[in-house]
Subunit: 291 residues, 2 copies
Amino acid sequence: MSSAGKPLLGGIEAGGTKFVLAVGYSPTEIIERHEIPTRDPATTLAQASEWFEGQGAISTLGIASFGPVDLDPSSPHWGHITNTPKAGWAKCDLAGYFASRFGVPIGFDTDVNGAALAEYQHGAGKGASSLAYITVGTGIGGGLVHDGRAVHGAAHPEMGHIFPRRHNDDHEFAGICPHHGDCLEGLTSGPAIKARWGASLSELPADHIAHEIIADYLTQLAHSLIAMTAVEIIVFGGGVMKTDGLLERVDRRATELGAAYFPGGSKHKIVSPGLGQNAGLAGALMLAADL
Amino acid sequence: MSSAGKPLLGGIEAGGTKFVLAVGYSPTEIIERHEIPTRDPATTLAQASEWFEGQGAISTLGIASFGPVDLDPSSPHWGHITNTPKAGWAKCDLAGYFASRFGVPIGFDTDVNGAALAEYQHGAGKGASSLAYITVGTGIGGGLVHDGRAVHGAAHPEMGHIFPRRHNDDHEFAGICPHHGDCLEGLTSGPAIKARWGASLSELPADHIAHEIIADYLTQLAHSLIAMTAVEIIVFGGGVMKTDGLLERVDRRATELGAAYFPGGSKHKIVSPGLGQNAGLAGALMLAADL
């Protein structure tokens, strides 16, 4: 199957809650899209494969996955999920499963690196030198693109696990991160917000202190990213960011914290995803296209 | 002048306290080295030029400078120091001065990016994917190299200006950063240590709480760098780091803070400069060699 001779690409945004599947001729030309809930690996991967089999022959497949994952091309565990606490998924060989099922080359990266690549190339980062994509939802993660490439380092970023300075009116809550307690994810993820205030952020009244506290912690991530990497565009996505006014609070507070010091000046921008809900999926298709 | 036909490179590590000058045939083959104190720009740049004129004809010159600096190749102010508080040096056209004086191509970056490049290529980072070089002295700065290139982003990192979480026994001191008060530099630079305890860290008794507090703040920089960029090697240099036991404390505390969570695992290392005091100067020569 091809359009004007273009090969058909497959893409999987592998999330902890759902798998989003697509085929298309480029990251922005999606032909078919399908969602399945994330169950145990055997069930989920079989369902995903069945859907792709109904779409015609894909030439390559890109997987943008929840993590932690192994991204080391020289590792025997490349393309595996590693030590996730998500039941059954630790050591799951995602890339290997689809490679043997479809016999095509597999592109593989984290979901947030995929989203960052897609936003950099086709979304909020067009023309910029660098972009970070942060998701604030069930967990908090971030991907970073500099000069067109996802930053891997020794493995991949785990941005949710920095320790923000505690807000003056928020010293009681111990945080829910099983590894770090009151790291950013432990304080500011959707489940952390529910655990402390019994509701999602968007359900809390507009004058509830939660709005200020959560914005303050997320701003510290943005501020640190600018200080450490001088990243130009910071995209905030994920369920918690749908809260009215949150992005604007983070943007305003980042300006206060920076105190007009950083040499990048007004080049630094804090924005919503240009690709809306499709950043991760477009990223998966980019991983397929770049093979 | 040449050795086996190699062109002669010039290098300047332009610091706020001193300029270190060198000529050599490669970043690790330094022929002559010379230091001059940093006075006003006119005096300092003239003295530097006179020294180079006595060394024979250089083919290119690399400058690794204190900042903030303009690194945007499309900017009319490329190669300038920008808004430094250091008297007389704001808007100094470092690259332009030497380009017109010597008529050779100029390489230009921050002092810490230069040091990071040199450590990555010739020092503590040999064989690694990525490296950060942090200097803790009069100020705190950091440079970052991923996949062989210095990370610039919208301008360049200013790592000293993150906000570490305050240590439990350290809530009084307001910090000395004129921009951010108790940011990392405001709490942990050499002058900040002097301002609060009346002595340098190495002069304070081994059981003084200062050792634990300073190590804790520097560890938070290392932890955040790993979380945000997954950087493999973190090199700590600068005067404050000469304090006995400080690097070991930071390394130990980073292991505690990370809680064995990061997927890079034991690849992440916190070390002293492999090039000793010459990281910045070798970096300047790399900037010259890469033209």
